[in-house]
């Protein structure tokens, strides 16, 4: 079980029940549990969606799409049943925050999913949890069973006449399945291959019915928004970026951990104050600020506000909120290699640029890091990554290409230092046996 950390700069909304025993339903109820869903039933769909819009809540899964707007895309009338799908596949390297929500406050996800369902007129919600998180799936199974036992889910919830089923579902090891359309395929019992879009899930989703897909943290935020009001939630954050977010801080900091900070919080402060600075008295070399899929920032670029728009302006992305801190004793080429090996291993293989691109990049970088690089490699690697960008079937190709382009752009001299048969300047050999898919 992951240990909890705390820092005075934190603003606890989603994490306010962490460590409070809220997996226990009675305890959850004491801590205002299932109040929001009752309120939502009274408010009705339009009012819920307006509140969500006012909250400026943007999806916590990575893309930062405004949640209220997403819900409003679901057609009111639909011949096929509508669904809500909670994305708890959390697999983006550097991201370990949904895990804490499932561990400490599973009912908040259930409640959030229920409110989403009421807002769009769905009568079933699925909570998908990655296969590796078996203990969390078990916590969730119990939470759902408890909620059913009290009649919170199922037929005629809270005497409202509204039927709403809530189900758990587990994965079995696949990053790509976190991509929303692949997630639906996986839930339908298939390989996690994304779907052609349009149509978007809000119109044609699970089993052909309109489907809202939200990240677990997004949904866990919803009950709080309903209770405190969208406007107040929005005010915690900055313009167009409402509320707080769980940041997973990892790598070479003194105090890694998951911290809940308001959107717009300064990245330098996260590293040096919240995280206690670089570990071992080393210096900062780079930060990957939004999970492994985003371009890195150099030390001189970290005075940036952690919100979707500012990060975009800074040439990177807020992504999944996983902040990976890299010190100056680290070989960037090796880091790049491990990054691309991940994408090679996780590429679903459906489309050519992603399947072949990640393979080629990982072969080249491996050879390069091993000291067999030639000058032309550096441009080739960049050429390849740039030619994956925007051309793949789903965003995984971009996610693989972007960090690589970033590393080469920002640390070209470190790549050059590996040339001409020279060994890694940091003496770091890539020991990884991956990525050999041996099925």
């Amino acid at each position: 079980m992951a240990n909890l950390v705390s820092h005075p700069d934190e603003v606890k909304v989603v994490s306010r029940r962490f460590g409070q025993g809220a997996t226990n339903l009675d305890r959850y109820l004491e801590l205002d549990g299932y109040k929001a869903v009752r309120k939502a039933l009274e408010m009705g769909p339009d009012a819920i969606i307006n509140e969500m819009k006012a909250s400026n809540l943007r999806g916590r899964g990575g893309a930062g799409f405004p949640t209220g707007m997403k819900w409003s895309f679901v057609p009111k009338q639909s011949a096929k049943p509508k669904y809500v799908l909670c994305n708890g596949d959390e697999s983006e390297p550097g991201t370990c925050k949904d895990r804490l929500i499932f561990e400490h406050d599973p009912h908040s996800v259930i409640e959030g999913a229920m409110i989403a369902a009421i807002a769009v007129g769905a009568h079933a919600a699925y909570i998908y949890i990655r296969g590796e998180y078996r203990y969390l799936l078990e916590i969730m199974q119990k939470a759902i069973a408890d909620a059913y036992a009290r009649g919170f889910c199922g037929k005629n919830i809270f005497g409202s006449g509204y039927d709403l089923e809530v189900y758990w579902h587990g994965g079995a090891g696949a990053y790509e399945v976190g991509e929303e359309s692949a997630l639906m395929e996986s839930l339908e019992g298939k390989r996690g291959i994304p779907r052609i879009r349009p149509p978007f899930p809000a119109v044609v989703g699970l089993w052909g019915g309109p489907t809202v897909i939200n990240n677990a943290e997004t949904l866990a935020s919803v009950p709080h928004i309903i209770l405190m009001g969208g406007k107040q939630y929005a005010e915690i954050g900055v313009e167009r970026n409402g509320g707080t977010r769980l940041f997973s801080l990892s790598g070479h900091v003194e105090r890694p951990g998951v911290y809940e900070l308001p959107l717009g919080f300064n990245l330098r402060k996260v590293i040096y104050e919240v995280g206690g600075g670089i570990a071992n008295g080393h210096k900062l070399k780079a930060v990957v600020p939004g999970g492994s899929s985003v371009p890195c920032l150099k030390p001189e670029e970290i005075d940036v506000a952690l919100d979707f728009d500012s990060m975009m302006k800074a040439g990177t992305m807020l992504g999944s909120g996983g902040i990976v801190v890299i010190d100056d004793h680290t070989c960037i080429v090796k880091f790049a290699l491990r990054t691309i090996q991940f994408y090679r291993h996780e590429s679903c293989g459906w489309c050519i640029p992603c399947r072949e691109g990640t393979d080629w990049l990982s072969k080249s970088l491996r050879r390069f890091h091993a000291g067999a690089g030639v000058a032309q490699d550096i441009d080739n690697i960049r050429y390849l990554a740039e030619n994956m960008l925007g051309r793949t079937f789903c965003p995984l190709g971009d996610a693989a290409a972007m960090p690589i382009i970033g590393f080469i752009k920002k640390f070209r001299e470190e790549f050059e230092a590996h040339l001409d048969g020279r060994p890694c300047p940091f003496g770091q050999h890539a020991a990884s046996a991956l990525p050999v898919l041996s099925h």
Binding site: E132, A174, I326, S438
Partner: protein, 162 residues
Amino acid sequence: MKFSEQLEARYSEMLTHYPVKRSLLVPFLLYIQDEFGYVTDDSIEEIAKRLEISPLEVRNVISYYSMLRTKPSGKYNVQVCTNICCQLRGGEEMLGHVREKLGVKVNKEVTSDGIFSVEEVECIGACSWAPAMQVNYDFHENLTPEKIDQILDEYRQKAVQE
């Protein structure tokens, strides 16, 4: 081909979750694996029959998901993360240490006594507590070589006792 009572109960419950039967496939395969140690040929045929899909379809799905296997692993499958956050904090060294201690070399190799297998895995969602590994479904975080020794010894003991 028989499933245990527990597995049957799981199956019956999961069937009620979905409008289309085959939807239970991915999580249920993992439960099958928990029962038999891996997804056996028999269980592939069985689940295919129940869900009215072809065994080929089932295999297509199994081979997609990295946790599903069609060959036995060790009783305790040690899955060491070497992805970026773990790498930064010694994940590769931890993997090396586990391998050395258990005397295995290649990925997914099973120890000769069948107690352990060692697998290098991608991020397991323990990035803030790196380096990390999972033994079967249990997380072990903030690893050091000493901690690993202790953890593995405990598992070995458990295996011997059973």
